[in-house]
C-alpha cells in the first residue's frame, strides 16, 4: 500500500545544499550532497555499508558536523552562529539504532525527561502525554517499567515515543531495526508505518526494503559518500539507473 504523496506541500523541511564532510584529509564521507525533503514526505535512505548514509542523517541534528555547504531545517540554516543548538535539536525527533534509553529512569520518565527539562512542561501534563504516546505505540502497560525489563522491540518503540513527545515536525530514524532480533522488527516498522500514514515528515536509514516499498515517497541511494539516485520506490526497485544501485539491489535479493 503506497502512500499518496503530499503533493500540495512544497514546504522544504530539510534541505541539503552542496554538503561535504571529511573525517580526515584522506577520507571524505559526504561528497556534494544536494537534496531536500518536503513536508509530509517519507524518504528512505539506503546503500551499502560505509556509503555515508548514517553520517548524512546525523548531520541534520548536528551530531556530526560538516565542513562545506549548508543544511536547512524548517527554513533555518542550522549552522547559523546565533542558533540555540539545544532548542533546535528539541524540534527534531531522532531514533537511534541502539535505542539509547536511559536505564536509570522508568519508561514514562524517559519520555517525560525532555518535555519537562527543555519545553518546561509540568509533570502531570508530561505524564499524561507520555501515557498517550505509550498507548499509541502499544506499550501503555509498561509505563512504570524500566528499560532493562523490556525487549529490544519494546525499547525501540519507547524510544520512538520519547522522540514524539517533543512534537517535532520531522523524525529521523538511523537504522531503527538493525539491532533487533528478526521477530521484533515488525512491531517497530508497524509504528513507523502508522506515523508515515498520519503525514509525519520522515527520513529513515534502513535496510528494510519492504518498508520502503510500502510507505516511502522517495528512495535515496548512496554509495561511497555520494547521493547517486533519488527516485520513487517503484522506479528505484524496478528500474535502477546506475550500475552501483543495480549491484546493491541484486546483492540484497540474493539473500
Amino acid at each position: 500500500m503506497k502512500k499518496i504523496s503530499a503533493a500540495a506541500s512544497d514546504k522544504k523541511i530539510i534541505a541539503f545544499n552542496a554538503v561535504n564532510k571529511w573525517y580526515s584529509p584522506h577520507f571524505q564521507a559526504l561528497k556534494n550532497i544536494n537534496a531536500d525533503i518536503v513536508k509530509g514526505e517519507v524518504v528512505v535512505l539506503c546503500g551499502p555499508s560505509g556509503s555515508g548514509k548514517s553520517t548524512l542523517i546525523r548531520t541534520v541534528n548536528r551530531l556530526e558536523e560538516i565542513q562545506n555547504g549548508t543544511i536547512e531545517f524548517d527554513g533555518q540554516d542550522i549552522h547559523a552562529p546565533k542558533l540555540d543548538v539545544n532548542k533546535f535539536r528539541s524540534h527534531i525527533g531522532f531514533v537511534f539504532q541502539s535505542f539509547n534509553l536511559f536505564p536509570h529512569l522508568s519508561v514514562a520518565e524517559n519520555i517525560m525527561l525532555a518535555p519537562i527539562n527543555v519545553l518546561g512542561k509540568s509533570r502531570p501534563k508530561a505524564r499524561q502525554r507520555a501515557v498517550e504516546l505509550l498507548e499509541r505505540v502499544g506499550l501503555a502497560a509498561k509505563a512504570d517499567a524500566y528499560p532493562g525489563q523490556l525487549s529490544g522491540g519494546q525499547q525501540q518503540r519507547v524510544a520512538i515515543a520519547r522522540a514524539l513527545a517533543m512534537d517535532p515536525p520531522a523524525m529521523l530514524f538511523d537504522e531503527p531495526t538493525s539491532a533487533l532480533d528478526p521477530e521484533m522488527v515488525g512491531e517497530v516498522l508497524q509504528v513507523m508505518k502508522s506515523l508515515a500514514r498520519e503525514g509525519m515528515t520522515m527520513m529513515c536509514v534502513t535496510h528494510e526494503m519492504n518498508f520502503a516499498r510500502e510507505v516511502a515517497d522517495t528512495v535515496w541511494f548512496m554509495d561511497a559518500g555520494r547521493l547517486i539516485e533519488k527516485d520513487t520506490p517503484d522506479n528505484f526497485f524496478n528500474r535502477p539507473q546506475s550500475e552501483r544501485a543495480q549491484k546493491f539491489l541484486s546483492d540484497l535479493r540474493s539473500h
Binding site: L63, N86, K87, S90, F96, F102, P103, H104, A114, M166
Partner: protein
C-alpha cells in the same frame, strides 16, 4: 599487664563526657569533610569532562597533589602554613572559632575530594557515549544532560569505591588530633594519660571506630542495593 581489665573506669562521668564530646566532634568533622569532598569532587569530575585542555590539566594537578602528599602533611600545611598567610581579620575570627577544627575539615575534605572525583570519573567514563548523544538529540543542554542522565548513572557505578573512600575519610579525621582537635583519638589519649588504664580505653576507641566503619559500609551496601533495583 598484670591487672585485670576493669571497664568501669570508663563510666566515670568526666571520662564519659570526654568520650562523648570526642565522638560528637568526630562525627561533625566527618560529616563536614564528607560534604566538602562530595561537592568539590563532583565539580572536579564535571569540569574534567569538558573538552578544555586547561581545565583537565588543572583538575589532574589537583588530584595528583592530593593523592601524593601525606594527609598529615596536608593538615600541617593548612594549619601551620596557610593560616599565617590569611588576612588578619580572618585569622582573628578563626582563632576565636576553633581554627584547628576548621582547618582539619578543610584539609581532609579537599584531599578526599580528589579521590571522590577519580571515582566519579571512572563511573562517568563507563557510560557509553550514546547516552549523551541521546540526551543531546532530545535537546538537553550539556549541563542538563550531565545532571539528569550522566551523573545519576555514574554515581551508581562508582558507589562501591565511593563508599570505601568514605570509610577512608572517616579514618583520616583521627589525624586531626595532631593539631589539637578534641576528637575521639585525642580524648582516648587524654583519658589514658590520666587513668593509666590503657587497654580498656584503647579497646573502647577501637570498638567505636570499627563499628562506625562497619556502619558506613552497611549503609553504603543498602544504598547500592536500593539504587540497583530502581535502575533495573
Amino acid at each position: 599487664m598484670n591487672a585485670k581489665l576493669d571497664f568501669s573506669i570508663l563510666m566515670r562521668p568526666d571520662y564519659l563526657k570526654m568520650v562523648l564530646e570526642g565522638v560528637v566532634t568526630m562525627f561533625e568533622l566527618t560529616l563536614l569533610a564528607w560534604i566538602l569532598a562530595m561537592v568539590v569532587g563532583t565539580v572536579l569530575a564535571v569540569v574534567r569532562m569538558t573538552n578544555s585542555r586547561i581545565a583537565q590539566g588543572c583538575v589532574a594537578t589537583y588530584v595528583e597533589y592530593h593523592q601524593n602528599v601525606p594527609m598529615l602533611v596536608q593538615i600541617f600545611l593548612w594549619y601551620f602554613g596557610v593560616a599565617t598567610l590569611l588576612p588578619a581579620t580572618w585569622q582573628h575570627w578563626l582563632n576565636a572559632n576553633h581554627s584547628e577544627f576548621v582547618f582539619a575539615f578543610i584539609a581532609v575534605g579537599l584531599a578526599m575530594a580528589a579521590y571522590m572525583s577519580e571515582d566519579l570519573r571512572g563511573g562517568i567514563r563507563s557510560i557509553p557515549k550514546s547516552q549523551i548523544e541521546a540526551a543531546r538529540a532530545l535537546g538537553l543542554s550539556y549541563l542538563k544532560a550531565s545532571r539528569l542522565v550522566v551523573l545519576p548513572q555514574a554515581i551508581r557505578i562508582a558507589m562501591p569505591t565511593l563508599v570505601s573512600h568514605t570509610v577512608l575519610l572517616f579514618k583520616n579525621t583521627s589525624l586531626a588530633m595532631t593539631i589539637g582537635v578534641a576528637e575521639l583519638t585525642y580524648a582516648t589519649r587524654e583519658i589514658e594519660s590520666q587513668s593509666f588504664r590503657t587497654v580498656e580505653v584503647y579497646l573502647m576507641a577501637t570498638a567505636l571506630y570499627l563499628s562506625i566503619s562497619l556502619l558506613i559500609m552497611t549503609i553504603g551496601a543498602m544504598i547500592e542495593r536500593q539504587l540497583r533495583i530502581q535502575a533495573r
